[in-house]
């Protein structure tokens, strides 16, 4: 649940989601769930326009995400490291 909590803390921030089909979608993180499915609002395409006509919002299935590019200033690396250490000693499987 570490990354679920992590993404919840980033709701409202701008991220770029790169999918496994090489599409990159820039948008504001609206919500996330335990499967790391993502809802973005006010989306725009980054790179090139190999892009079907999309509206303002989208829902992305977690399994098709390759990367999520995050704003470095919004991330508390110390907190992440401490949580990751705890997570591995007491796994919530």
């Amino acid at each position: 649940m570490l990354f679920y909590s992590f993404f919840k803390s980033l709701v409202g921030k701008d991220v770029v989601v790169e999918l496994k089909n090489d599409l990159s979608i820039c948008g504001t993180l609206h919500s996330v769930d335990q499967y790391l499915n993502i809802k973005l609002t006010d989306i725009s395409v980054t790179d090139t326009e190999k892009y079907p006509h999309m509206l303002k919002n989208c829902f992305i299935r977690g399994s098709v995400v390759r990367y999520v590019q995050l704003p470095a200033d919004e991330v508390d690396t110390q907190l992440l490291q401490d949580s990751a250490r705890k997570e591995s000693s007491a796994p919530t499987r």
Binding site: G62, S63, R66, Q81, S83, A84
Partner: protein, 101 residues
């Protein structure tokens, strides 16, 4: 004396994920599917190998085959991303960085 021994924190390495834990806040090399590699500083991971890397450099390797000479031309594309979440299902292996230069 017995009390001193108990107060020393011990890091036990029992399973493979414990080895990844040793690399937290260190630079690592990640080999991924689709001929991709990442180098970056590891800040978080979980049992799925989802990860957060900072100052990440992604290398994509492609092979182009010349139609006439049939020679294989290996090309790499690199890009830098300041803070990156990596989904675990794309990860093949994680290791300390291999310094070639």
């Amino acid at each position: 004396m017995a009390e001193d021994l108990e107060n020393i924190p011990t890091i036990t390495v029992k399973e493979p994920l414990d080895l990844v834990r040793l690399s937290l806040d260190e630079r690592i090399y990640v080999k991924m599917r689709n001929d991709r590699e990442l180098r970056g500083r590891l800040h978080a991971y979980d049992q799925h190998m989802n990860m957060i890397l900072s100052d990440a450099e992604e290398t994509i390797t492609t092979v182009e085959i010349d139609e006439e000479t049939y020679e294989e031309v290996y090309r790499t594309t690199k890009r830098n991303i300041p803070m990156l979440f990596v989904r675990g299902d794309g990860v093949i292996l994680v290791s300390p960085p291999m310094r070639t230069a």
